[in-house]
Symmetry: C2
Subunit: 275 residues, 2 copies
């Protein structure tokens, strides 16, 4: 195959298979070329990925060597995206009765969801994560977006057990905002003991739901390796029960009377990319 055609085929391969480690002979064979040509192709792709801030090709030399694409936004590009999110969320049309914010349009846009996933995957890029976990319903698309860039599966915690998932482990937890006792269920089959888990959710107030997920993970002897929430609410009256999370935006004020919303970048802004 000619170089120009190879570059298109290889770029597609890396974008469709983030983090997949492949040895060079695989490409030599499938693209019918030489090792040195592939090596030059990889240099070109790496350079463009870097300049377009899409991440980089990680190459390992030696017998077991090969290449993998690490999708990783720069800290600056991620921050820029969080500012765009803030702007979108500050639209007063979003105010709902009770001071809630309508976010379903944002979370219903596959492109926005994918970008959010890419930012979280960038933040957690250097961590050893086996699986992404979320609780139904709104966190699900975000969890898949993060998982697709980390190349790991998703497990979904439910609030009600389903017959179609077999036996499950359930816990009770106290929802931070309503102080009600709620239930959380995870099918036994869906998570291996000792897994390193990244928890993803769309929204966090006091953190009761995320705390519930942490307790559930204890039942599976699993480790909480990372916690990512799209939006946290800054509520001084309530004490936060979760630590060590990364938030992209922080909703600091929803004033129904004045029809005004204030949203700032979350704590991610003050972290460096390499955690």
């Amino acid at each position: 195959m000619k170089r120009s055609n190879r570059l298109v085929a290889l770029t597609n391969f890396f974008l469709e298979n983030p983090r997949k480690h492949k040895q060079l002979p695989y490409f030599v064979k499938t693209l019918n070329t030489t090792k040195s040509s592939i090596s030059e192709d990889l240099d070109i792709i790496h350079t463009v990925f870097q300049s377009e801030e899409l991440g980089y090709l990680k190459r390992v030399t030696g017998a077991a060597g090969g290449v993998q694409y690490i999708p990783e936004y720069s800290h600056e590009k991620s921050i820029q995206f969080t500012y765009e999110l803030c702007k979108m969320l500050e639209d007063p049309v979003r105010i709902l009765p009770g001071g809630y914010l309508y976010m379903s349009d944002l979370l219903g846009n596959p492109k926005t969801v994918r970008e959010i996933g890419r930012v979280f995957a960038s933040v957690f890029s250097q961590l050893d994560i086996d699986v992404v976990m979320t609780v139904a319903t709104k966190g699900i698309p975000l969890a898949y977006a993060v998982a697709s860039f980390l190349d790991v599966p998703v497990v979904i915690v439910r609030r009600d057990p389903k017959v179609t998932e077999g036996s499950s482990v359930s816990i009770n937890y106290v929802s931070g905002s309503s102080r009600r006792i709620q239930t959380m269920v995870l099918p036994k089959r869906s998570l291996k003991e000792g897994s390193n888990v990244c928890i993803i959710d769309d929204f966090m107030k006091a953190g009761g739901t995320i705390n519930g997920m942490i307790n559930l993970l204890n039942e599976f002897n699993a480790n909480v390796t990372a916690i990512g929430v799209l939006a946290e609410a800054d509520d001084e009256e309530e004490e936060r029960v979760v630590e060590g999370y990364t938030s992209l935006v922080k909703i600091t004020n929803v004033d129904i009377k004045q029809n005004y919303i204030e949203v700032h970048p979350g704590n991610y802004k003050d972290k460096s990319t390499r955690t």
Copy 2:
């Protein structure tokens, strides 16, 4: 920018922005080159996309002309994927009490989910679809995968209204398998009147749930443009209440005693790609 670098950047653009129509001057400017060079680049990308069966670049000449990437698997490639799905589903370890099939591992794999989405998007490629709709919970990742390839948003029907979504329209429907009356809710804001809707779900038995979604769409004066279900159960005792759907696989027999599952390609197999 040099051709080799341009090809990587352009391939990334098309894969990240399926169906997005762009005029050539956009690329001439961002890639700092000439129109004829871009035109040659597009020819190369189109050729590779076709030979790798990823779809094609659709080009329109004239004043408002431009290019867009249509992700579309060939019918053969889609069928091949459905056979792989059948094989994965026929593993007897999946049998759960009550004759249900454990599918959460498949639906928890972002890559598998993305492939399923790509196949549905290929089947519905020539239809005019404004939005993909599904019902919580299991259909959600599939709906996002389909929507990402069709470049449209997702709306999620719930079984319980949420305060954070504002006023909503609800309907009652009879679940086909349990004959129970159930409720379905869609926030008013989430769907425009007259939208062309593609319904996606993971599983269909008699079709009560999908029928419920169709009734809900009537309340929004929306049109059911397409219906896609990953797996249908072939149950001769029950009459199907939904017509005009596309299924990827059909579960024809779950024999608990013999520990045996039979799964065949769904009705998609007998359709042509261009519907």
